[in-house]
Amino acid sequence: MDEEMESGVVKKFMFVNRKAPYGTIYALEVLEMVLISAAFDQDVHLAFVDDGVYELKKGQDTAGIGMKNFSNTYRALEGYDIEKLYVEKESLEERGLTEADLVVPVEVVSRAGMAELMDGMDVVLSA
């Protein structure tokens, strides 16, 4: 019996990111949620759809706006065993982005695939 089962209930959590970073705080505070969730041994999924795909854009440099650049934190998720990052293909395309533009390795899924993933979750938290 693995460690997760021993600790009790394991639910499928999905954190859905639909907002661009910096214009609002949602992307950053969702990330704080995600990091905390790592301590609970749940089955954690991150979805990036709509403007949420902008959160993962490489090369962010916030020096000029006086805010903290948190984009490197997505790269730290692996160290917390949070490895299920799904990015919607159509959302990337509409924004002229490709997988090569992203700061972390992700699984690019179609909109239909993303819809199916969402449908299988126990808890969905979005912002």
Partner: protein, 100 residues
């Protein structure tokens, strides 16, 4: 699964994004400014009418009335509910995805 939309279909992309991601059979509840999409005759209503074929669709009556919208004038097939029904829908349909 039940999807909730609380934003105007004109101001934000939440309504359209919800329609694109809700799998067939999952429920959709419109409340707060999301209720405008359920009113017959507005341009968003056509998109909701298409969704009615694939989803049980609900709209929160108190939010419609607050905005001066007639609960009798909603898109065909859309059911008007109250807060108690909102609770029942969540019980019945399982996981809630809020399109905030």
């Amino acid at each position: 699964m039940i999807h909730t939309v609380n934003k105007s279909p004109y101001e934000r992309n939440a309504f359209d994004s919800c329609l694109k991601h809700a799998v067939k059979g999952s429920a959709i509840l419109l409340y707060e400014d999301g209720v405008y999409a359920a009113v017959k005759g507005c341009t968003a209503a056509a998109r909701l009418a298409d969704a009615v074929a694939d989803h049980p669709v609900f709209v929160l009556g108190p939010d419609l009335k607050a905005r001066g919208m007639d609960p009798a004038n909603v898109v065909d097939g859309v059911r008007v509910v109250d807060y108690g029904d909102f609770v029942d829908l969540v019980v019945e349909h399982g996981t809630v995805q809020a399109w905030l």
